[in-house]
Every structure is written in C-alpha cells, then in structure tokens.
Amino acid sequence: MSPADRDLRLDGLTKRFGEFVAVDDLTITVPQGSFFALLGPSGCGKTTTLRMVAGLEEPTGGQVFIGDDEITALRPYKRPVNTVFQSYALFPHLTIADNVGFGPRRRGVKDHPAKTRAMLELVQLEHYADRKPGQLSGGQQQRVALARALINEPGVLLLDEPLGALDLKLRRQMQIELKRIQTEIDVTFVHVTHDQEEAMTMADTIAVMNHGLIEQMGPPAVLYENPETTFVANFLGQSNLILTDVISSSAAAVVVDCHGQKLEIDPSRCHTDTGRGWLGVRPEKISLRPTGEQIRDGANRLTGGRVSDVSFVGVSTQYLVAMPWGQELMVFEQNTGQQAQLRNGQEVDLIWSPEHAFLLDASQDAKAGVTTPEDEA
C-alpha cells in the first residue's frame, strides 16, 4: 500500500443547519501520516467538519474519502477513524484498562489484554489499569483518551480540542508528547483547535477556518510569515496593518504610498490587485532607530513615529509608536543588549525589510480575527 492510499480527502463537504452554513464547500486533502490542524475561532465550522469525518454528523453535501474508499455514508462504528473527544468522554463505569480495551473488544481482537497493556505503557499509565477515570487527573485522563483511540490503529485520528481542559503548563507538555507519539506511530492526526500556538507547535499543515470556509492553508511558518487575508494575519500572532495605495508594481518590487512615504514589498507577498491594500508587518520584524539614523540599503523606513508606550517584558521590550496619521503601531525589540532602550516620547524611524512585509486586499476588515483576552479563555 503506497502512502497516498490512506490520504484523507474531503470533497465539497458542506453542512447546513437550517439557514446557517456551518461548513461551506470544503475541499482539502490531508496526506497520510501528517499532523493536520484545523484552526479557527469557536463557531467557524472546524468541529462540525471533524464530526462529519467521524460520522457523528451527516453532511448536507460533499464526500469524505480515506484513500480510495468513500466513507461519507458509513456509520461511525464502521469507519477506520477514531476520535479523542473534547473533555475525553471516558466511560466512568469502566476501569482504565477496560476503557482502552473497549475498541479491540468490540472488534473481537484476540490478544486485546496484551495490546491494552502495551498501549497503557505507551502513554505511561500502566500502573493505573484498574482505576476508574474519576480517580485520574486531567492530564492522565487525556492520555487514556488518546490510548483508547490509538489502540485501534485508525487510518485517521481525530482530536477535538484535546488539550482544552488542561492548564497551561500541562498543555505545553502534552503538545510535545502528542507530537512525539504521532511521529512514533505514523498515523494521520487531524487536530481541531482554537489555540494558534498549539496548532503552530504541533501541526505540519494548518488550515485556518472562518465562517465555514478555509481562509488559508499551509505550513505554520508560511501562514505566519505570508498571510493572505487580514483574518489570518490577526488570528495567527499579531500584525500591524496600515492602509496604503499601490504606486507601481514590477517583478522586483511592489511600491506603495503610505501616507506620503514610499515603501517596497516583495511581489510574492502581495495578495491584492486593486489599487489599495493593507500593508502588514509583524511587530517583531520592525526595529526602531532614533530619527535620521543611518540604515542599511534596501530597507523600508517609515519616519515620523513617536514612542507612546514602553513595556519591558524581559525577553523583549514592547513599544507602541504613534504615527502622524493617528495610528499606533506595535514593535517588539529583542533584548539583545546591543541597543539602548528607547524612552517614551522619543522620535523614531521604523525599519524593516521588504521581504518581511505583506500586502492584503483593502476590502477586508483590518480587525478580522483579532483575539481579545476573553476569547483566549
């Protein structure tokens, strides 16, 4: 069986709840053995997509394939797919061993006690085999849920916000653990989450979902460095977005007018062909220099800034810089010790390389995908 034989393929997958379109004509291929993340805010359709793959939700339209087998209409218990449920859904009346052995028993696997023991060892819970789920901590329950799904050697493992119920420290630990297990057993993981950091840490490929559509799909670094929509620019990390007019565009560079100053952008990072665009640049890509200081050739320089806020956070210093047109831009400077800290009120130039900026269509909302602290909770 060649690797491509077990790819998960969604073709025009659609789910409507009455008038509401939860998932809108989704077509993606998840290569076998990859760690794929569906990332988006709550209500974006990511969980509905997952449930359609698991067979827990019936699609309004479209098809689901694993390799060449169509599984769209199969009952959940007939699919080569297993799920790690949000808040785990462990059977409270069964022991840990019986929870993990549940799938193999149903399928009549002969040596299921031995397999169960091996699986409990993989997740380091061999001493808890006779306990009940209620007697385990959140992190341990999470591992039981993982073992209970993985023991079935699924073609695709679906994870629905698997780390959502854990505290921050444990979550980091489990991210590494999950990635280790995934690499070890070479199973396709489809991971649904609203936590961009979680998705970026673990996934090979991230699909950012919003309103039932995929905004952008690609490796985490590409999504972060070269976002194609304002939603992606804001949802993954933070971005400064400045409204600019395109002056000229060539194979070498796209030149924009930013409130009277000329700036260059790498053409491969321009995602608009209209005359206006949001120029985006990540706060850590900008460096601040006292006004007028000499800079290297080819760099973009935006003058007229005035430091309006300085917060020292240890590894970096975060500045807010007020621009003449009233916008405040964010700048993160690494504390490398090479440069003196700037003071509040100081006049500064903002410097960055053309290959670090991106240009997005001006018709989009500049605030799309901005997460507030309440969303994170």
């Binding site: 959940p76 218990y77 449920f85 808040s87 859904a89 059977f91 409270p92 009346h93 149903r106 799904a149």
Partner: protein, 282 residues
Amino acid sequence: MSTQRRRGWLLLVPGMLWLALFFLFPTVQLFFTSLYDPDGSFIAGYEMGWEFGNYVSAIADTWNLFARSFLYAGIATVLCLALGYPLAYAIAFKSGRWKNVMLVLVIAPFFTSFLLRTLSWAAILSDRGPVTGFFQTLGLLPDDGRLLATPLAVIAGLTYNFLPFMTLPLYASLEKVDFRLIEAAGDLYSSPFTGFRKVTFPLSVPGVVAGTLLTFIPASGDYINAELLGTPQQYMIGNRIQAAFLTEQNYPLAASLSVILMAIVLVMVIGYVRRAGTEELV
C-alpha cells in the same frame, strides 16, 4: 461541637421527631401487637403473651398469599421496567422541546386519586367494556371470557398504578448520561445496540435499582388492585392483612403478617441492592 455541625443536627430534628412519632413508634407497637395473646379481642383487650407461635400459624395459613403477592408484584415490576425504560429513554434523549410536557404527562395520573383510577380500570376491563369486546372480536378471548376478575387484571392494574414510580427514577439517571459517551462508544466500533448494552444501560443501573424498588415494595403490599380488579382467588397478602385488621379485628394476626411482609421485603431488597452493587457505580 462546632456551630456548623450543631446547625446540621438541628436541621435533622424535625424530620427525626416526625419519623420517631409516626414510623418508629408504630413499628415497635406493631411488633408488640404481633406477639399478643390471640385469645384476646378488640373489645376485651389483648394481653402480651410473647406468642411467637402467632408467626407460625400466620405463615401456615397464608404462605400462598405471600407467594402470589410476590409473584404479581414481580411480574408487574418487570412489566413496568419493560414499559418504563423505553419511555424514560425517549423522554431523556428524543423528546427535544416536548421533554417537560412529557414529564408532566407521566405525573399527571397523580392528580386523581389512586382509588378512582383503579375503579376506572374496573370499568375499562368490565365484561361489557370495550377492551373485553375488542379481544373477543379478535378471537383472542372466548365469547364468555373475562378480563376483569383475573390475575391479568390485577397485574395490569399494579403495572399501571406504579409505572410513574419506575419511569421517574429511570428518567433521572438516563438524563444524566452524557450523550458524548454514546458517541464515543459508536466511535469505538459499537453498534447502537452494543453501545446501549455496554454504556447507556450500565450507567442507568442506579435508576433501574431505584425504580424496581419503588415499584416492587409498594406493589407487594398493595390490596386495592386485587380488591377492585380481582376476586378472592387473586387476593394478595395486603387483602388478608386488611381483612384481619378491619373486618376480623384479629390484631395479633394482622400485625404478625405485617411484620413478616416487612421482613421478607427487607431481606429481598438487601440481597438485590448488594447484587446490583449500586455503591460501585459512579
């Protein structure tokens, strides 16, 4: 003793007093009555004779009534479970916005008295009633066959009257079952039936235990159904106790029958609860 704990005890006092006065005292009284000299009478008064022989003669005369009571109550309990489980399941999982309406409908019979409802069953099952006629037309019952005054009528009446006591605890425990557990069972290769057998049903066992106890215990002591829907051939132990107390006024006999009934039910319940192992369940 801390104030907190003292307050806890204070809250118990009214209930304890009530139970002491209206449960504990009558029970002790009943026990003593069962040992009175049977030669006494209601008019002349009884003497305490520590007559344990009362029990022997009570059992000897009425063992068949005991057997019939437990048989009828047992069948009625099984029927209640068979009817009540799907009902409770449907209300808990499938009723959507009709849930509250359906729950009210389950309790609705309690708005009329037990006696009245059983009397109307007598009318429904009567020889010229529609149900008898229906079965006769279908040929399931001979033309001179009866429904009223048969064991069937008594068991049907018991089943009907105690169905809510079965349904409500079943509903309460089914309603608590997380539907995601059922989804998880499906995800782990259980057909809907296997998922029910391995997950839903085990999680509803506390409701089954509570429901069967609430049905079986009162049903085995019931006498209204046998009185109104049956004949002396269908009488249960409750009828005998009622007759001994109120008609014959043979207090020692009535009391010893009551104590025996209580003791047997208690032993059966303890055995049952032990086997069902409710404390093992979360």
